[in-house]
Symmetry: C2
Subunit: 157 residues, 2 copies
């Protein structure tokens, strides 16, 4: 028996939804900053027949997600704000409406601009493997791109 | 071997993307009006590791999708505009940021306001059953709700 169809109302001009409490992104540690997570749609919420979780992440100005990789893919759509995504050795600016496909086993990180937050939907398989933090060798490889080194340093303080 | 990670850039202020051609929603018939479809992310585009297609639909003012049902579920996020969703005997207004879970076998239709379009992401299983149009009995059941009858009549002209 499926849960009923439902509408989840956007509230307060965007970035939050009625009945959806913002949750912790992960256990607090040095790998991430300024992240909140909203679980919008998921089988665990009764949304049967979906094979995915639809989450919304809000990154505060200057914040960033963990630099990590995993076997599952990400489908990302930016809803608001401005920032960057690191995809292995490449960094790309992001703004509202941009989509990102994060292929399996790609090291990736989402970062907000210093003076503006970044809000994005991130869609993943409901059943998925855990993320693994980028190791020292991988980090050295990414830092060989001066643009990425600058990003990692300029906003990490 | 997976396709590479990639960024799909929003263009022209939203509702279109670089390198993504708007496509026909379905074969033309009387069941729908003013719909265009953009396929943003999908395994058929090389986005391996995803089990879903991420599509964007734009409904022109006064337009509507087919009134139909299927076994697969929909995860919908409104990106812009204003309209309604019919979910069996219930109609709900929609605006930017609202999410909709369409449960399996729910008769549903997305409709734009008469004076404003409606643009939404619709995420579905990449492998899914075909849609079935609402039958006469189902339509009579929905029309028992005066709000739905009014919606179906006022915008169908």
């Amino acid at each position: 028996m499926s849960g009923p169809s439902r509408v989840i109302r956007s509230a307060a001009g965007g970035g939050c939804w009625r009945g959806v409490a913002p949750a912790q992104y992960k256990e607090p540690d040095q790998s991430h900053r300024g992240m909140t997570r909203h679980l919008l749609l998921a089988p665990t919420l009764g949304d049967d027949g979906l094979c995915i979780d639809v989450r919304y992440f809000e990154v505060a100005p200057g914040g960033y997600s963990s630099l990590e990789r995993h076997h599952h893919a990400h489908a990302v759509i930016v809803l608001r704000g401005r920032g960057w995504v690191i995809l292995d050795e490449q960094a790309s600016e992001l703004g509202a409406g941009d989509c990102v496909y994060v292929a399996p086993d790609t090291i990736h990180q989402f970062r907000a601009a210093p003076d503006e937050g970044l809000g994005f939907l991130c869609i993943v398989d409901s059943e998925r493997d855990p993320a693994v933090a980028a190791g020292d060798e991988e980090l050295a490889r990414l830092r060989a791109n001066p643009g990425i080194a600058q990003l990692l340093d300029s906003l990490a303080g």
